[in-house]
Symmetry: C2
Subunit: 235 residues, 2 copies
DNA sequence: TCTTGAAAATTGGTTAACCAGATTGGTTTC
DNA sequence: GAAACCAATCTGGTTAACCAATTTTCAAGA
């Protein structure tokens, strides 16, 4: 178990080292947005790492919008300006893994917004999906089973109905880590789940009646416990 | 240009097709969290695609926390439960590319929060970095140059000072797309930039004096124009 | 001198062979 | 019978050769 983690972080180190090398190369060669990077082969030779490592690092920088690679042509620096590129590269190199508190804080922020947007923009189709998620959750809880997953799917359905694809994506990104940490720290107990049904129903009703203010209010209540955890804990 | 876009989207289609295949395989074989997926070779043969395509799809699902691959051992289904896995896979397959409105909406949401957190948690080191970003921005504007990048670096410095790694990452993710769209739609003109200096300074002062409410207020004012764009446009 | 166009070189993507570490199953040993 | 051990096998990762599309080069033709 230990070993595996070490390799993972080593892997990350290598990737960050490559990104640092690329950054220095760009700076040294005075490359500007739109310019072509040396080929993957050349980079792998120059940095003394495998081409797949290079490709991986390039993918990461592509994800953050700093590079754009065109098939059979080359990898180019995105048109975001030298200054932004340099600043962002620094930030990417300094990125730290999210802690649980940071996740919860972000989740609450996102959800208080998505629930508002959902109540404004939801289609009938959206509403139906939320209803289904709600019922799946209620059924699980009533059977006394663990319903963390169904809980989160209800919230994801709301994010989906918000009509904001960015927030929807972000919710998807943090969800698995929320689940893992919930199970690790046992944040919710079964009593809370029973109460959760009523809270979910209230949120649903607010969305149904297209009342954004009420929806946000009910979501805030629903997050009551988490809120406390987030703002009164040292974790 | 057209061709390139087509290949990109084709590429995406292939990846989504693989993810769909994996989803069906999991369902068909009744695989549960913790179980091992067939090896990459086997999957590539079964689905009739290259192993690198398989690896790429697995990486994507790893990013969304659904799979975990261990070197020299296998790829495993993450411990997030069958229901959550299934629901998330559906959501991932239906993910749509973010539109500009969605980006701006999310940016405003994030920044009104990060500026509050930054004013509460900023260290002296953070403050210094924000100050530097502010000065770089002011200098560019006073020279009559375009300062979109410096503008965003100022905001990223605030996100960095927020002490919330998740929000920081999210800000990094949306920044390049914001830059690209700003340049495309010419959202800001130079007059706005001059006014922007004063606004940035006010935000800085609020963070310096650790006044979260004021900081949020000043940020809201700063977003005035964008706000309008966001809520009174059909785009 | 400029245009044209075909061949050569270069590129990211793909494929297949290979590697080292992990797993597995059976055999030995006590 | 159980524990220890070893070798065969299987795994994700790496490497190197290959591919098809793109870009470059440069000589032929006007």
């Amino acid at each position: 178990m230990k070993l595996e983690i070490v390799t993972k972080s080593d892997q990350n180190d290598i990737q960050n080292q490559i990104i640092l090398n690329i950054k220095e190369l760009i700076s040294f060669k005075n490359l500007e947005p739109g310019d072509k990077l040396p080929s993957e082969r050349m980079l792998s030779e120059k940095f003394g790492v495998s081409r797949s490592n290079i490709r991986e690092a390039i993918r990461k920088l592509e994800f953050y919008g700093i590079l754009v690679s065109k098939p059979q042509s080359g990898t180019f620096i995105a048109e975001i300006g030298t200054v932004a590129m340099d600043g962002m590269l620094n930030d990417i190199l300094n990125l730290e893994d999210p802690d649980f508190k940071s996740l919860v804080e972000t989740r609450i922020l996102l959800e208080l917004k998505t629930v508002r947007l959902a109540s404004l923009r939801r289609t009938d189709e959206d509403l139906k999906k939320i209803r289904e998620a709600l019922e799946a959750y209620a059924e699980k809880v009533e059977n006394g089973e663990d319903a963390v997953q169904e809980d989160l799917l209800f919230h994801l359905a709301i994010a989906n109905a918000s009509g904001n694809s960015t927030m929807n994506t972000f919710m998807l990104i943090i969800t698995p880590e929320i689940i893992t940490n919930f199970e690790k720290y046992h944040v919710c107990d079964s009593n809370q789940s029973v109460r959760g049904i009523k809270e979910h129903e209230e949120i649903y009703k607010a969305i149904e009646s297209q009342n954004p203010q009420l929806a946000k209010e009910k979501m805030k209540i629903h997050f009551g416990t988490l809120y406390q955890y987030c703002y009164h804990s040292d974790k």
